[in-house]
Symmetry: D2
Subunit: 108 residues, 4 copies
Amino acid sequence: MNDDLTVPELQRRLAEFAAARNWQPFHTPKNLASALSVEAGELLEIFQWLTPEQAATVMTDPDTAHRVRDEVADVLAYLLQLCTVLEVDPLRALAEKIERNESRFPAA
Amino acid sequence: MNDDLTVPELQRRLAEFAAARNWQPFHTPKNLASALSVEAGELLEIFQWLTPEQAATVMTDPDTAHRVRDEVADVLAYLLQLCTVLEVDPLRALAEKIERNESRFPAA
Amino acid sequence: MNDDLTVPELQRRLAEFAAARNWQPFHTPKNLASALSVEAGELLEIFQWLTPEQAATVMTDPDTAHRVRDEVADVLAYLLQLCTVLEVDPLRALAEKIERNESRFPAA
Amino acid sequence: MNDDLTVPELQRRLAEFAAARNWQPFHTPKNLASALSVEAGELLEIFQWLTPEQAATVMTDPDTAHRVRDEVADVLAYLLQLCTVLEVDPLRALAEKIERNESRFPAA
């Protein structure tokens, strides 16, 4: 496995994966934003009937832990692909948001 | 601005931000998965009434571009915080998912 | 206020409302399904940071109660408009689903 | 099949179904709002990769038409159950919202 685990490298691999399957025509911003929302729902589905206590120990069951990692990957995959097509740098966007929130919600 | 834009560094800054405001009790897996889904909906909202053509040029309007980056940041923030509390490595989870998908959907 | 509160009558009023504003071109199945999902997220947002106990008493605060009714209305509005354009009878669809679930999950 | 297809009658049948399976403890407002959002995502999933033209003819395929009716039923089921536990009248909430929107968006 390629162990260069950075966001730009994963974006490159996702783009290559889609191109090899001729999936780019489907990867419009609107479709990717829909798919991101659908996958976020599938991640939430794992937790929907659990008490807060049950939800906190969800990773102790290997099958559920696998399902969580799988849905996290799907959410991240669509978020990164959306950022690629819109030319948004997701890590910079987050760093700037944290800075804005530091002004907006001053620490006590 | 701190320019170390890596996922672990952003996770550290998000954790520090939440700790300084005593927000950790709210950051249960179930609440973070809900917030992630809500923010994915807010990102989709930008595109919901647009034609595919309009959606493709959404970043040419500065206000909409700012809104897109802001919602991308919110989705990523909750995804990374969920990964922190569940001890999931998001980039590794995605790399493993891409490998599984390469077997599942062989390129033509 | 027109007090004929039935699903077909509300569907008729929603269609009339959209037609009077020339909004029908936006009301494609895909856009309405997106809007439904976005509004379901806005309804969930009300509950996302609440404990189960806090969530149970959400209607005792008049402002929150108004917000809940407002978001319930939005979800139902998009669901009914989607059913109109797809020619799905929502109450019949639900009755049939309950019957299928009665076979699928026999009561103890 | 019981052909009394009204919202209050379907709410009664949903409550009876849940009670017969001892599912009421799971049916907190927060869980039901999560489930509603998850099901809205499953409905959106049907449309996510379709062009507007393909989405418009989705009911001509019997399997997809069945899936649409099934997901519409799930969304409506959780919306009605949420309304039951919160004591919200969904049809009245929608009628009142339409009236507010008539003032907010005057027809041309």
